[in-house]
């Protein structure tokens, strides 16, 4: 069985193919486990964000080691890797959510279009309006559904009238595929929704401020398969207008929603490339081991 078949089967039983995968060693270019040079093309033509030589330290401990990659405009890029590999940490660097952790230190360069994200002149408020975020656990504000979505536009002063705000809220809920379910109950608390609906509410809340990039930190890990399918569908639709970076534990999900995939391992970016290629023809032994279910 080739790794092509593995990817096809990925949705069903990735672990079952582990034994067979070890036979296809020949297709891997880097067999040395200790070689932590990034394999694959990190550069894209229409880059939305450019990261070069990013290091992240929590106190003495280095969580991200010299990571460079581009995030293309209107693409979905998935960060995968075993727990503790630094994919979430790296994601949080992109909109400086790590700033809230006092011991956290970031070096290197991250650019959003032409602006250096970590430049002194950039205000995090502006940055986070441009780079929105959806978290692992749905975290709607304990306010009404309407207020949840209206919050961002309100604090950023995006609308002038109540009618404009109403339109924006409805539009955001519609784009998040939630409008039909909540149309009649906009004034009920956001926390009264189901988990999947709450997560879509959080997505609606994020897109209400018209960000350029949306970061998603394992957005489906707390959801059931049906709710997950809805979110994945939504991500695919949102790609038209936004650049999406998604961290996921589920390789199937990465395979389904992303165009490019980056594999992190213990703080190193091991391999990056087209999603098809990563899953069918990984170039690094570590990547192959991970996607074939050897560990992770």
């Amino acid at each position: 069985m080739s790794t092509t078949a593995i990817a096809t089967d990925l949705g069903l039983k990735p672990a079952a193919t582990a034994a067979t995968a070890s036979r296809s060693v020949s297709s891997v270019e880097v067999t040395d486990y200790d070689n932590r040079q990034t394999v694959g093309k990190i550069v894209v033509d229409n880059a939305k964000m450019i990261c070069r030589g990013v290091n992240v330290y929590y106190g003495e401990k280095q969580a991200i080691k010299n990571v460079s990659l581009d995030i293309g405009a209107n693409e979905v890029i998935a960060f995968i890797g075993p727990s503790g590999c630094g994919k979430s940490t790296f994601l949080r660097c992109l909109n400086r959510m790590n700033d809230t952790i006092t011991t956290c230190r970031v070096t290197g360069q991250i650019k959003l279009d032409d602006d250096d994200v970590y430049d002194k002149s950039i205000d995090v408020v502006q940055l986070r309006a441009r780079v929105g975020m959806v978290f692992q656990k749905p975290n709607p504000f304990p306010k009404s559904i309407y207020e949840n979505v209206a919050y961002g536009p309100r604090i950023h002063g995006m609308v002038n009238t109540k009618a404009e705000l109403d339109d924006l809220v409805r539009d955001s809920l519609e784009r998040a595929g939630l409008i039909k379910e909540v149309e009649k109950r906009l004034n009920e608390p956001g926390t009264s929704l189901s988990g999947g609906q709450q997560q879509r509410l959080c997505i609606a809340r994020a897109i209400a401020v018209h960000p350029e990039v949306i970061l998603m930190d394992e957005p489906c890990s707390a959801l059931d398969p049906i709710a997950t399918a809805k979110i994945e569908e939504l991500i695919d639709e949102l790609r038209e207008n936004y650049t999406i970076v998604i961290v996921t534990h589920s390789m199937q999900q990465a395979a389904r929603v992303s165009q490019r995939t980056a594999y992190f391992h213990l703080g190193d970016l091991i391999e990056i490339g087209e999603t098809d290629q990563i899953f069918t023809n990984p170039k690094h032994k570590l990547t192959e081991d991970y996607i074939t279910g050897r560990f992770g």
Partner: protein, 437 residues
């Protein structure tokens, strides 16, 4: 030690049921014993609470009733308005005590002689003429008429009527004489001596005469003091809690501040009183006995309580809410102001109310700043000399008259009622706005 010894194997292989059953009885007995200890402890506590309440209510309840005597008062124009020109000044200074004396003599026309008459006049309170003057000033048309008017009886009469003076005791050993007892019996028989609800207790300030003493002054003093305390300690406490919890860097200085705030909460309250005396009165020259100074001192005492409760309420707001707000691009102040603080507010209010209840019951620091003075007038501002409810209780408990004993208990009941009210409010707030994630 960690190695299992050889004999353990056969024991373990023995029927597990018998092994467990062997210990089961002992375990159940231990559980039963523990339950009994708990019940015993709770019953003991309840008994003492009931004893305390029973004692206070039993003693204090009669204070809500007061004896009044109905007297036929002749508003003699010759006494009240000899000139006949209705001059308010003259009417105000007229001899109203004479009216009361005449009324009493009219009830008991057979009493003669200076000593006897003085005993008769002693039945009525010294408040009676003042009451009459008030009525005449309000309605000058009363002059020249004759009315049946209920007037306050003296505290001795009241105490006797309430059964707190032994009728059988020797005449020299009781404050009320045989002839007075006779008159009281006669008044009661004709329905001219009655117990009415004691409004004076709630409408007048302190007095040396028990029947005229009330807690209004102390209540208003407590109100002004607590108002100052709340207005100062709540905003400062909340702001401090928010700053320390959300904005301050975590370093040695903030650790030191935190330790000191926790220590401050444990400082004996009298120390705050001494501090208030030295700083607010001696250094800043603020007036003695004023609710303003009392409020300042109690603020110092309440602040750490509010800060600690506030920080606890802030930490209980889940980090996911903070992340959500920050992720939306809210500034730190917006995150706190829009999300964290509203969610923490019920907890903060609960803490503050409990702190305020403690301040309401505090007396020691207020003794130090002179709020222990005998003050008759009801305070009308933050700077008027006044006392507070617990200090009033302390003052009355020192007085020997039997009538003050019941007033002390009555004042305690009022204080307890306010405490229960405040704590109840705190519980309602907590229940009402409690959120679960």
């Amino acid at each position: 030690m960690s190695k299992p010894n050889a004999t353990a194997v056969p024991t373990a292989s023995r029927d597990i049921k018998t092994i467990v059953n062997a210990t089961l009885k002992r375990r159940h007995a231990a559980e039963r014993r523990f339950r009994w200890y708990g019940l015993l402890a709770i019953s003991l506590g309840l008994i003492f609470v009931l004893l305390m309440f029973g004692n206070i209510i039993g003693k204090g309840y009669p204070a809500f009733w007061q004896s009044y005597i109905q007297l036929p008062i002749k508003f003699d124009a010759a006494i009240l308005d000899p000139e006949g020109n209705r001059d308010p000044h003259a009417i105000e200074n007229a001899d109203y005590a004479a009216l009361v004396r005449t009324g009493l003599r009219a009830l008991f026309p057979n009493v003669e002689g200076r000593v006897e008459l003085r005993a008769l006049y002693a039945l009525s309170s010294s408040d009676a003429p003042l009451e009459l003057r008030q009525q005449v000033m309000a309605h000058p048309t009363l002059i020249g008429t004759e009315q049946e008017i209920w007037l306050l009886a003296s505290a001795t009469v009241d105490t006797f009527v309430k059964g707190n003076i032994d009728r059988q005791a020797e005449e020299d050993h009781r404050p009320i004489k045989d002839n007075q007892i006779g008159w009281i019996d006669q008044l009661q028989a004709t329905g001219k001596l009655k117990q009415r609800f004691n409004t004076i207790l709630f409408t007048s300030g302190d007095s040396r005469e028990p029947e005229q003493a009330g807690i209004r002054g102390a209540l208003m003093g407590s109100f002004y003091t607590l108002l100052v305390t709340f207005l100062l300690s709540f905003p400062v406490g909340v702001a401090t809690a928010v700053y320390l919890e959300e904005f301050a860097p975590k370093n040695r200085w903030t650790d030191l501040i935190e330790v000191n705030i926790n220590n401050l909460a444990a400082v004996p309250s009298i120390v705050f009183g001494l501090l208030g005396l030295a700083v607010f009165i001696n250094f800043f020259g603020l007036p003695r006995s004023a609710p303003l100074v009392g409020g300042l001192v109690l603020s110092l005492m309440t602040l750490p309580v509010i800060i600690i409760a506030g920080r606890a309420a802030l930490t209980s707001v889940p980090p996911s809410i903070r992340e959500a707000a920050l992720g939306m691009g809210a500034s730190k102040l917006q995150m706190v102001g829009h999300h964290v603080l509203p969610l923490a507010m019920p907890g903060m209010l609960t803490g503050s109310i409990i702190g305020m209840a403690r301040a309401l019951g505090e007396s020691a620091p207020l003794l130090m700043i002179g709020m222990v003075a005998f003050i008759v007038d009801v305070p009308k501002s933050f700077l008027d000399p006044s006392t507070v409810l617990p200090v009033q209780i302390y003052l009355w408990s020192d007085l020997p008259e039997r009538a003050f004993v019941e007033r002390t208990s009555a004042a305690i009941m009022v204080l307890l009622a306010f405490m229960i009210l405040m704590n109840g409010l705190a519980i309602i707030l907590r229940k009402r706005f409690e959120r679960r994630w």
